[in-house]
């Protein structure tokens, strides 16, 4: 077994998991909302990419210019129209509303597209690989996904710490009532936060559609990977989420090397181990 290669592959798959997780991490950080439908919104993005590629004849990665703005608008509308109503003292409404949405999205996609698996084909990019020093070959496309994940997180960090809107996000995360007193409109801020989160989710959906087969039922497991990455990395820390995603990816990669059907279980075991040893994750920035 070539450990170097296994770990390299695991790191790269972690890039995709980080893209899954960033949106979820972001909205929890800003408004303490755990969106159970997150995984199904990733699937929805993948299907949007499929439609854009087939109807408009776009190159698969070019569908980003359609999917990302559509998901951005959907996020804003969803938050203003539905999810803002659920925020409050009780955890039941946001949890159960997003849970219901998850089942609705999943089954509507199933009714529309059937249970067949789909995939977007990008041709040579998919098979291109380059050789790292040490003789390990890695795929160019997984590397691109990983770099996109790093760029997205870097960009979000810049937004949070260098812009006015970022300051407003951090402020409402710390104390949403006081921020309203200062004249901010939380409903709008939350709308923007969900819009940004779903724009990233849209991006994740397009990469997912190119990287793996997908069908309407894959959402829940993407939600679980995203959730595991966030809890491993620690709440409220996007770089921590990336680290968590990489750890999850490596654990799955090692599991798959031991036995193919051990891949996913190995990820869950890594998550449970971290939970047992460090309940707040490895690099927490906030408490639940």
């Amino acid at each position: 077994m070539d450990w170097y290669s296994i770990i390299a592959q695991g790191c790269l798959i972690g890039g995709l998991y980080a893209l899954f997780a960033v949106g979820l991490s972001l909205i929890f950080g800003i408004m303490r909302l755990v969106n159970i439908a997150h995984g199904d919104l990733i699937t929805l993005s993948a299907f949007l990419a499929l439609i854009a590629a087939e109807v408009l004849g776009l190159y698969p990665l070019a569908t980003l210019i359609i999917v990302v703005p559509v998901m951005f608008a959907l996020g804003y509308g969803l938050q203003r129209g539905v999810l803002n109503r659920t925020l409050g003292e009780s955890i039941l409404p946001p949890l159960l509303v997003t849970f219901g949405m998850s089942i609705v999205i999943q089954n509507v996609l199933l009714e529309l597209f059937g249970a067949d698996t789909h995939r977007l084909v990008v041709g040579t990019l998919e098979t291109a690989s380059l050789t790292l020093p040490g003789g390990v070959a890695i795929g160019v496309f997984p590397l691109i996904i990983f770099l996109v994940a790093v760029a997205v997180i870097g960009g979000l960090q810049l937004m949070f710490y260098r812009t006015d809107i970022g300051r407003a996000f951090r402020a409402t995360s710390d104390d949403s009532v006081t921020v309203e007193l200062m004249g901010a409109d939380n409903r709008h801020l939350y709308g923007l936060a969900m819009a940004i989160a779903l724009a990233v989710t849209g991006c994740a959906g397009v990469f997912l559609a190119v990287r793996t087969n997908f069908d309407p039922s894959i959402g829940p497991s993407r939600l679980i990977y995203a959730f595991e990455a966030i809890i491993i990395g620690g709440l409220g820390n996007l770089w921590g989420t990336l680290a968590g995603a990489v750890i999850l990816g490596i654990a799955q990669s090692i599991g798959a090397a031991i036995k193919p059907d051990f891949q996913i279980l190995a990820g869950h075991i890594a998550f449970l181990l971290v939970l047992a040893v460090r309940p707040n994750g490895l690099f927490p920035r906030m408490r639940d």
Binding site: L33, V34, I36, V82, R85, T86, S90, I91, L92, P93, P94, L95, L96, V97, F99, G100, M101, I103, V104, N107, V108, L110, E111, P220, S221, L223, I224, F227, E228, I231, D261, F262, I264, L265, H268, I269, F271, L272, L275, A276, P279, D288
Partner: protein, 359 residues
Amino acid sequence: MTGPSPTAAPEASFRVERGTRASRIFMASGAVAIVVLATLPYWSDSGTTRLVAEMAYYLALAQFWNLLAGYAGLVSVGQQAFVGLGGYALFVLCSAYGFHPYLGILAAGVFAALMSLPIAFFVFRLRGAHFAVGTWVVAEACQLTVAQFSALGAGSGYSLTPAIVRTIAPDRAGRDMIFYWASLGIAVAALALVYLLLRSRVGLALTAIRDSEPASRSIGVDAFRAKLMTFVIVAFCTGLTGGLIFLQKLRVSPQAGFSLQDWTVVVIFMVVIGGIGTIEGPIIGMIIYFVLRELLADYGTWYLIVMGLVAVVFMLYAREGIWGWVAGRFHLYLFPVGRRFVRLDGAPASQRDSGPNRA
């Protein structure tokens, strides 16, 4: 010292009432309904009997989830773990260790309760919504773990041998009757258990935690203990129900045993629509689910989509569900779990401590 003033003996001037007239009428008619339902296999066709059996065990699952989420505040999305573990425990104990299926069902509950302790060790570290997803991960991990064992049939599943099946009853019609009564029995037991539990000290603690965890802590309620106890009790009951369900199906596989959709999604929709945090709610939600499912039987998964949309709308606009609305509007409580003070001097006081049902 003068004689006792009228206010000196407050304990004598009122009594605590725990039932209502509606609840007494309901209990009596409920008992009649159960007797009538028990005779169903004698005057109905086997299709109806099987459907009512399914309704009965779903009612039990809905009551258990409601106890967990509606009262203990433990919103689990992973209860399918206990259904599956119960099902597998039953099959293993009957096939490999020669348990009689009846004893096996009980042992399935015990096994699920034992497993709930290590599961609680992990998931109780997570709060609120994260607890929910955590239980889901654990259920997935259980499913994948079971699928690793070739002795359990790995991914394809595990069947009961005809010899074991015949120990229940020699023919299919006889078995169907026994399963029917067992399912009905589990539903009645679930209602009785939840009702009695909520009227007990534990129920008082759970109601206090539901209304405000910090406030209940301040008056000495051990929230962690009450929640853990509820988690284990519900695991036992869910595992036992799982054992019964798969004894009926005669075959269990990781997919069917740990199905999120069958054992948790549907149950959550029932409780949310009927009214979370009430005992009556899951009954109503269960009936609505089966009516919808039978009506939309020819339209694929549309019944799930409709159920999901209705649940979302209820959570957004009528959080207390159908029964919460009825109870609030008509002050109707069929399973009163609270205490009501009735003054004995005839004055029309009825100050409630926690409300007959919902504060």
